[in-house]
């Protein structure tokens, strides 16, 4: 056996830039012997950003947003974060809203995941 049937290579596409990710996905979408990984799927290799223009940590987050983000990553609720920072729940929501906007996230879980991927926070 040994004439290997060329087992499929699973590639994870981990590109932040949506435009580049789309183009790569289109180019690599239907190559025999190659498959892009589903979210969470284990891959043999990953395609990562190597473009100096896309700096990871240069997202303009204010100090307060970083405070809120860090507590979010610890699983804190808005109420808990408010108590920690001695501010109102409304203010926490305000900062969370800004974070969702700046990190292009759909929710707090997505925001934490995005921030971790970009190196803004360490899990």
């Amino acid at each position: 056996m040994s004439a290997d049937i060329a087992p499929e290579i699973v590639l994870a596409l981990e590109i932040d830039d949506p435009a580049l990710a789309d183009r790569l996905a289109a180019l690599l979408g239907n190559i025999a012997g190659l498959r892009l990984a589903d979210p969470g799927e284990k891959a043999a290799a990953a395609i990562v950003s190597r473009d100096p223009r896309i700096r990871p940590a240069d997202i303009a987050l204010t100090q307060r947003e970083l405070d809120v983000l860090a507590l979010m990553a610890e699983g804190g609720s808005n109420k808990m974060i408010a108590r920690q920072l001695n501010i109102s729940v409304h203010t926490v929501k305000f900062h969370v809203g800004s974070l969702l906007d700046k990190l292009d996230a759909t929710g707090r879980t997505d925001a934490v995941a995005h921030a971790a991927r970009r190196g803004v926070i360490e899990l």
Copy 2:
């Protein structure tokens, strides 16, 4: 001249495993719009090794729980996850509840953070 609508994407191949590198090089060698970088050349993205390496004592999560967890890490809501997996929202909540229990998390954000920290998932 024209700035082509599809400028060539330069991809750096950074794989240690020679066999895998060869296969990838062969597969990606002649794709229109895509080019493998010469040594030292600046690339838009790189293909890096992502071998499923040894994970330290992963928690006993069922396959379905891993499915749900992966989609949670992508920021998916219960409704979206339900659609993705073709199950009901109630079932998603059931699995999420199990995940919160097993991962000792207070919420889905905490669950994803814990799972990432313990290497159960890759962000």
